[in-house]
């Protein structure tokens, strides 16, 4: 059933479009990074330009990654929302769900094997995209990422949270509504995730109301925690400007508790989705 879901998904134009967009994106990224690689770093020689004198290839790599990261995230978030919101509703709407359920398999299996396909496709594309960004950057600006395992785990947490949300919503509201709600939540969570990083730079300075709103948003939709984990793991640890960029909320560490919470949140939503699916009549 899972392979059937993957087969069905790979035939969809939206997935083909996303694959093409991924490679076009990487092509442009390669072009941009190779053009930027002509910059000469003169680390240790701060006579001509004191700022340039402090920077090295790792800083250029960091700049390239944090420029590409949000764009890649937007593409992947859009993809998983669109395919995640349509997978179960289309099987139900086209009358195929009674057919699948009439076969000797449990509802749990039908639910997870059908809904898991969008996560697997999105995660695969995400790995390709971020691996491409990493490799292209490394060709021109040699650097060592902080932690590849953190990147992969955070990526799964980030996409998993968006997927769990859109899968659950697609069973309780119409698919377009589930897409729009998840898009809205993802955008708001991303914005407040950045605000949270900035507030951490100035403890006690932010208004209490803003702190509360930020925490509530992170609590309601924790997908952004995963995305920040991806960026944190991918960027070079030895870049000079890392600390300064933390001000903009793009390079800060994500506490493991936040990631664990995002996993639990996703599991609860998936459980609720299954509970709804289990009790549905088709």
């Amino acid at each position: 059933m899972f392979l059937n879901g993957i087969e069905q998904l790979l035939r969809r134009k939206i997935v083909l479009t996303a694959v093409i967009a991924t490679f076009v994106f990487l092509g442009f990224y390669w072009w941009g990074v190779s053009a930027a690689s002509s910059i000469e770093f003169s680390q240790g020689n701060d006579m001509a330009d004191p700022v340039m004198g402090m920077l090295g290839p790792a800083d250029a790599a960091l700049a390239a990654i944090i420029t590409a990261g949000p764009l890649a995230a937007t593409l992947l978030t859009a993809l998983i929302i669109v395919i995640g919101s349509t997978m179960l509703p289309e099987e139900i709407g086209q009358g195929r769900m009674p057919f699948w359920l009439s076969l000797p398999q449990s509802r749990l299996r039908v639910y997870f094997s059908t809904s898991l396909a969008p996560l697997v496709v999105s995660f695969t594309l995400s790995v390709i995209l971020f691996a491409g960004i990493f490799l292209i950057t490394r060709i021109y600006f040699p650097f060592s990422p902080r932690s590849i395992p953190v990147v992969l785990i955070s990526m799964l947490i980030w996409l998993g949270a968006v997927w769990a949300s859109v899968t659950f919503l697609s069973l309780i509201v119409k698919k377009v509504a589930s897409m729009l709600i998840t898009f809205f939540l993802a955008a708001v969570a991303s914005m407040f995730g950045g605000i949270n990083e900035m507030m951490q730079m100035f403890p006690g300075e932010a208004p209490d109301a803003l702190v509360t709103v930020t925490r509530v948003i992170m609590f309601i939709f924790p997908a952004d925690r995963g995305y920040r984990g991806v960026i944190y793991g991918l960027i070079p640890g030895d870049a000079v400007i890392t600390e300064n960029l933390a001000f903009f909320g793009v390079t800060a560490n994500v506490p493991p508790a936040h990631l664990i919470y995002a996993v639990c949140w996703s599991l609860v939503l998936l459980g609720l989705g299954y509970w709804k699916f289990r009790n549905m009549d088709f």
Partner: protein, 307 residues
């Protein structure tokens, strides 16, 4: 649980919000039967099928297939189902769909599938995408897919939908072949002529209740009409009217209203005394449509009295 019963439904009730779809519905289907669920639109026939397959959850009652409760996926191991409406992906060919089904059923059935496609005259379609087939072609392919192998129980919801007369004949033959090989068939159809030709047993449902059940022969009554098959229709008509019978000329014969089916012997003598050549003389029984209308009318009348 009776081991000689393939499907056992006991006191099944189901409501969709305020609509009571099934009320204390009980039914037993024995192996090898070609069984039909009959009833007007909204009677609850499809709901019965869907509850059997675990697609719809019942409010109360028990349902078993081969002694296994339908909540267990194992109960559906030997069961095949063709829904009334199903849209397979337009890109998928029958071969691809078979592969998908094989993955779930953990079995290889290509040879059986090819035989079934040959039987249903759709072998030339097995590599064509479903989106490029007519409705009737899709229905033949779908039937081939669901009946492949040696199923214990086949549930068909309006199987003749979209089929031409030739296709209907092929499906009738398929159903008979399946039954002769030991499969039990449960059909839900409004095409009573088709049901009458292929089924041996029927259950009538009205407003979610089982109102009649039995072999088609036992449900059908004498109509009180007799038919004299003859080429001399005009002469026979006059002669029988002169003998005091109310009759009318029909194609290749004369239809006569008897006062009582037991008066058939007396009528036979009357026909013989006319000395007009006839090739057959028979009492007419109700066809399935007559049975259906009589049972439904009676059921509605009872409901009116109760209310």
């Amino acid at each position: 649980m009776n081991k000689e019963v393939l499907v056992q439904i006991s006191n099944l009730s189901k409501s969709y919000r305020k609509v009571q779809a099934l009320r204390e519905f009980s039914l037993e289907v024995k192996p090898g039967m070609i069984f039909s669920l009959l009833g007007p639109n909204g009677a609850g026939k499809t709901t019965v099928m869907k509850i059997l397959l675990g697609i719809v959850k019942s409010d109360s009652g028990t349902v078993h297939i081969s002694s296994l409760p339908v909540s267990s996926p194992l109960s559906r191991r030997g069961v095949r189902y063709l829904p009334e409406y199903v849209t397979f992906p337009s890109w998928a060919t029958p071969k691809v769909l078979l592969r998908q089904l094989e993955r779930i059923r953990h079995e290889s059935s290509m040879q059986d599938f090819i035989l079934r496609c040959t039987e249903l005259d759709c072998i030339d379609l097995i590599n064509r995408p479903m989106g490029k087939m007519s409705r009737g072609q899709r229905q033949r392919v779908a039937l081939s897919l669901v009946t492949t192998g040696q199923p214990d129980l086949v549930l068909l919801d309006e199987p003749s939908t979209g089929l031409d007369p030739g296709g209907r004949v092929l499906i009738r033959n398929l159903i008979k072949n399946l039954a002769s090989n030991g499969s039990t068939i449960l059909i839900n159809s409004h095409l009573l002529g088709e049901v009458e030709r292929v089924c041996d047993t029927a259950a009538f449902i009205n407003k979610g209740r089982l109102i009649a059940e039995g072999a088609l022969d036992s449900l059908s009554r004498q109509t009180g009409l007799a038919f004299v098959e003859t080429e001399h229709t005009a002469e026979m008509h006059i002669a029988l009217e002169d003998a005091g019978y109310s009759c009318r000329i029909e194609d290749k014969g004369v239809l006569v209203q008897l006062t009582d089916p037991s008066a058939f012997r007396e009528f036979t003598e009357a026909v013989l005394t006319t000395e007009i050549f006839f090739s057959a003389l028979k009492l007419k029984r109700e066809n399935l449509e007559d049975v259906f209308l009589r049972i439904m009318e009676h059921s509605n009348l009872e409901d009116d009295i109760v209310s």
